[in-house]
Subunit: 136 residues, 2 copies
DNA sequence: ATATGTGCAAACTGTTTGCAGCCGC
DNA sequence: GCGGCTGCAAACAGTTTGCACATAT
């Protein structure tokens, strides 16, 4: 828990119970949850929590580069505790999103083309290993 | 125009005026438009056109692999006339999305990991060349 | 006392659904 | 006349906004 307090302080974000539990949730669940999932899971033990606060908190964490949002599923934002560059794989069958730990070898080429690249997102979609196994 | 009729026929899609103008629009505008942009632009010369039909048509074209949807901007789907693998760059300033013609060297590595990869999306975000120039 | 965070409700946006009417083979 | 396409309106989901209250320096 202390580590999350530290992260907030280092980023000049006021430490509130709400921010702490949201950040802790993301630190412990690498499932790329939506705002609603985070809200529903936390609501149980924190009945007074509001969804607006979850939105606000995620926005603040994102602005400070502590987390990042991914748009792989299209209809909603999902959040990811940031830890080095990696890509994502979305299984169209079970809906699970898994981390893919590969670098982006295109970045060098991107820099050549003159744009100032701040974010790199690699999204792969298909059927995951597990679902393939079940089908067989 | 005849080329778009041909595409629809080849994919066993009934040729209707609505489908033709939507497909033609995407063939001629490589701007990665949203459903709403397509609708508004076409509505002028086709007042009876309904947005539902635009949604339906885009869905049909996508299912047949004629176009693809990209989720780079998060809040809405954007459409792209499909033509070989390429990536996308979104300028956070002017909002423009540009095609990046590079291959994805990660695909090989992805196949190794056992998932069945059907789609590859590479999204880069930052400030584009043009906007950088204006700033300077 | 002031600035910031929280939480409710209402608004807004993009998308989907239900259904009636239409068109073409 | 049947199946698929169109278009309207209503429903829906995710997100944002306005505002009053709470909290902490």
């Amino acid at each position: 828990m202390e580590e999350y307090v530290k992260i907030l302080k280092e980023n000049n974000l006021k430490v509130t119970p709400q921010r702490l539990i949201v950040l802790k949730y993301l630190g412990e669940h690498h499932t790329h949850p939506t705002t609603d999932i985070i809200y529903r899971d936390l609501k149980t033990n924190n009945p007074s929590l509001s969804k607006t606060t979850v939105y606000n908190t995620l926005e603040a964490l994102k602005e400070h580069g502590i987390i990042q949002s991914i748009t792989i599923s299209g209809s909603e934002l999902r959040y990811d505790f940031k830890q080095g560059m990696h890509h994502h794989f979305l299984c169209k069958k079970c809906g699970r999103i898994t981390d893919i730990d590969i670098e982006c070898p295109n970045l060098g080429k991107m820099l050549e083309c003159g744009h100032n690249v701040e974010e790199v997102h690699g999204y792969f979609k298909g059927i995951c290993k597990n679902c393939l196994k079940k089908e067989a």
